[in-house]
């Protein structure tokens, strides 16, 4: 069994603000991440999949198929966007990178079978770096 990991990048802005909390509670909870007009990051995501090596191709996964899936489900919807505006799930959910990681994992998982119709490869993990020092992971068991 092999795990294949591919890296992608997108840039987006967000503001951490919980609608259920007051202005001062938000400011206290999120600090500078709550500044009123938001701020941005260069996000780097790693998508890992697991599977056996196919005899014909010598590969566990066709990177072009994964690129297409990630482009369609993640890069096109999120790149150069404001995550607080126009992205349905973040209308009611704070676009922390925890929630963003879960949403990216969900989008890939829901569309995985149509991109990779066989038993393998399976989606194993999404890892997202908001900055080089803040990194979040969601895996199949989490």
């Amino acid at each position: 069994m092999i795990r294949v990991t591919r890296t992608y990048r997108f840039s987006a802005s967000h503001r951490l603000h919980a609608a259920a909390l007051s202005e001062s509670e938000n400011a206290e909870l999120f600090g500078k991440c709550n500044n009123p007009y938001g701020h941005g990051h260069n996000y780097q995501i790693e998508v890992s999949a697991r599977g056996p090596v196919d005899d014909r191709s010598g590969r566990a996964l066709d990177p072009r198929t994964l690129d297409h899936l990630v482009r369609e489900q993640v890069l096109e919807p999120f790149d150069h966007q404001n995550l607080n505006e126009g992205i349905t799930i973040f209308e009611d959910l704070v676009p922390t990178t925890e929630n963003l990681a879960r949403e990216i994992y969900r989008r890939l998982a829901v569309n995985w079978q149509s991109a990779f119709p066989g038993q393998w490869p399976v989606l194993e993990k999404v890892r997202i770096a908001e900055t080089p020092r803040n990194i979040f992971e969601v895996s199949e068991h989490a």
């Binding site: 069994m1 092999i2 294949v4 090596v53 191709s57 010598g58 990177p63």
Partner: protein, 138 residues
């Protein structure tokens, strides 16, 4: 405890399955099937698992690990055309997946004498693609 040694080599390869025709290979591998080949700077992470020795405080002697990796992998792979010069890639497609398996097979018999147990091989083919192999049982 896990300890990882990172090494690098540069090599060329072509992704073609000799059992398939030109059109099938191009469909399967895209630009990687270009018959004259192309190259990468590969980065290899060799991860060994073990307990630190109470006297030395080390899992293994890194110099010995480096010597084994140099002898078994780097001297074989570096500045070679993998399909033509490094078996089994005369008949196995030298994808990053198969390179990880081959490096595991070359190193596994020699790690015990260095100390610890081989835990994983990570092969970075480019900055944006890597594969992990943890042996047949994983």
């Amino acid at each position: 405890m896990l300890i990882t040694k990172r090494v690098e080599f540069s090599a060329s390869h072509v992704c073609r399955n000799p059992l398939l025709n030109d059109r099938e290979n191009e469909e399967l591998f895209g630009a990687a099937a270009n018959k004259h080949g192309h190259g990468h700077n590969y980065t290899i992470d060799v991860t060994v698992e073990g307990d630190p020795d109470p006297v030395t405080g080390m899992v293994l002697d890194l110099k010995k690990l480096k010597d084994v990796v140099n002898r078994e992998v780097i001297q074989t792979y570096d500045h070679r055309f993998l399909n033509y010069e490094v078996p089994p890639f005369d008949h196995v497609v030298p994808t990053a997946e198969n390179i990880a398996i081959d490096i595991w097979n070359r190193l596994a018999p020699h790690i015990a004498q260095v100390g610890g147990q081989l835990q994983g091989i990570r092969v970075h083919e480019t900055n944006d693609l890597y594969v992990d192999y943890f042996g047949e049982t994983a």
